[in-house]
């Protein structure tokens, strides 16, 4: 890496100047949600000040202006993930809603009793529960591909689960509890060899890794705007056009119809078929602003910088006696999950908070991962492009001091 503009980036995120308990904020919880740059904050307030009206409905100027901005954001998302068409970009509330949408439309239409859905042992609850609900509704069976103690998917075991009853493989691109980046190219190739579609949960991967839908060739990809430096309440479902065309709608209402009569309604084309009701207009535009911001910095630069942060934090953490890193995959994103001997993660969280350090302590919506490691919870520092090595030093000093205090 040559010169990553870290000072400029930090200055772009006003909240980073906040004092927490009289200490400078050290925000290491971006895996739960990212902070927002001025570009995003300003774009949202600009919408409400100058461009706001409902979209796709009015002949008046403001409505046209809002619609143009909204659709321009869709094009930005398309470009960001290199989808073939904006018809393949569906705005939803977040990764969770996207997965539920797939389960209840694609799933209900294509998955029957005795069919199988394959996930992995490291999924977020939002990529477990919607499938369990579908299985309960249809009599399908959920199969779970195991991982090794480093927190890596055992690819051969996943492969062995695929058969002529498998209707879908749904896998995290990157694990939120462990940081593991899964070998998604290999998974897609193996599944496609048997004509099985693949859904990737990109909620964690999207802010760290450049993705290319056409190169990856996955069938569905989902993510949330709030983990991509954008607003909360907005997310994206990418689906291959042919699949989306064939899927029944999710919710009925305004905007998703072509014609309505009391006898029968016909549905709008893509992407509107899946966007019933007034969406989070300003937030979609804000997500577009986040993408512009990221493109300016460059995802490759971000990935290289974050890799350095992860390597540095890992190396520092390993020097601390009594600290055990949870999740040591070869291919890993900027997440450091750990436990301390005889000190509960919640105590770690409260103690670090008193030093201005925000980490997450808990099960990270991945209770099966906690069970696998035999811990009730972990402490997790997750890094973003605005973090620094100096902040990692503050974290490590904090950990060392709290170990001392606990004695």
């Amino acid at each position: 890496m040559t010169t990553f503009p870290i000072d400029k980036i930090r200055a772009d995120f006003p909240i980073l100047a906040e004092k927490i308990r009289n200490k400078p904020l050290v925000y290491l919880d971006s895996g739960a949600s990212c902070q927002k740059p001025n570009a995003v904050i300003d774009s949202i307030s600009h919408v409400y000040r100058h461009e706001y009206a409902n979209i796709h409905r009015g002949v008046h100027t403001l409505s046209v202006r809002a619609t143009d901005k909204f659709e321009a954001a869709r094009e930005k998302v398309r470009g960001f993930i290199n989808a073939a068409s904006t018809k393949e970009i569906i705005f939803v509330r977040g990764a969770t809603e996207a997965i539920n949408l797939i389960a209840q439309t694609y799933g209900k239409a294509n998955i029957k009793s005795g069919d199988e859905i394959v996930i992995t042992a490291m999924e977020h609850h939002s990529n477990i529960v919607p499938w369990q609900m579908l299985c309960e509704q249809t009599g399908a069976v959920l199969k779970v591909a195991p991982m090794n103690t480093k927190g890596e998917l055992i690819f051969d075991e996943l492969s062995a689960l695929l058969n002529d009853k498998t209707r879908l493989v749904a896998v995290a691109h990157m694990s939120n509890a462990l940081g593991t980046i899964n070998p998604v190219e290999k998974i897609i190739a193996a599944a496609h060899a048997l004509n099985i579609p693949v859904m990737l949960d990109g909620a964690q991967a999207i802010p760290h890794i450049a993705v290319d839908m056409q190169a990856l060739d996955c069938d569905f990809y989902v993510f949330s705007g709030h983990k991509l430096y954008g607003p909360s309440g907005i997310g994206v479902l990418y689906g291959k056009q042919a699949l989306l065309e064939a899927m029944p709608p999710y919710q009925g209402g305004g905007d998703m119809i072509k014609t309505v009569s009391f006898e029968k309604s016909t549905y709008a084309g893509l992407p509107h078929k899946f966007e019933a009701g007034t969406p989070s207009i300003a937030d979609v535009i804000g997500l577009g602003a986040a993408i512009d911001y990221l493109n300016e910095i460059g995802m490759a630069n971000i990935a290289a910088y974050e890799a350095e942060l992860l390597a540095y934090s890992t190396q520092q953490a390993k020097q601390i006696k009594g600290l055990r890193i949870i999740g040591e995959a070869e291919d890993k994103g900027a997440i450091l999950s750990f436990v301390l001997d005889k000190i509960h993660p919640h105590d770690i969280g409260t103690m670090l908070d008193s030093l201005g350090i925000a980490i997450r302590a808990g099960h990270h919506c991945a209770m099966p991962v906690m069970d696998f490691y035999g811990v009730p919870a972990t402490a997790r520092a997750s890094f973003a492009m605005y973090n620094t090595k100096a902040e990692i030093d503050v974290l490590m000093d904090g950990i060392k001091s709290l170990i001392e205090v606990f004695g």
């Binding site: 008193s354 808990g362 004695g407």
Partner: protein, 150 residues
């Protein structure tokens, strides 16, 4: 370094966390209830030996944070020898002390438990302190099941 936390993490709490009292399975318990805090994964099993309406013995097993471990450890100490009514009254004061708005709680009435009064400033940690007492409440009502803080 952790000056701000002195109210929350008093020495007594560290002590009970390091050496929890009554930390054992009770073979001849006649009440046994599991408490679970799904938010943080804390789990405890509370054992009581009732002699009429008197708590003749109390013990626990499980894992949790320092606050929840100290809370249950202190609780088992303080409820031994108390009647159901007395224990229930303590529960009410404890609940008021940790969650109430009232500044004027009678700390004398809770004795040693007063060290947990600090959690009221930490809403995210209140459940850690109250899990033990909700579990006790269920045990006294003879609900032989698991209870959860959520």
């Amino acid at each position: 370094m952790f000056e701000d936390l002195r109210e929350l993490y008093q020495e007594v709490i560290f002590d009970h966390n390091r050496n929890p009292r009554n930390f054992r399975v009770m073979a001849d318990a006649n009440r046994k209830v599991e408490g679970f805090n799904p938010l943080c994964g804390d789990r405890l099993t509370l054992y009581l030996k009732m002699d009429g309406d008197k708590i003749a013995d109390a013990s626990f097993q499980g894992s949790g944070c320092a606050i929840s471990t100290a809370s249950v450890s202190l609780m088992t100490e303080i409820i031994k020898g108390k009647t159901e009514t007395e224990a229930d009254a303590l529960f009410k004061i404890f609940h008021e002390m940790t969650t109430g708005k009232d500044e004027q709680i009678n700390l004398e009435a809770v004795g040693k438990l007063a060290v947990l009064a600090g959690v009221r400033e930490y809403p995210a940690r209140v459940k850690c302190a109250t899990l033990a007492w909700h579990t006790l409440d269920a045990a006294l009502k003879n609900e032989q099941k698991s209870i959860s803080t959520e």
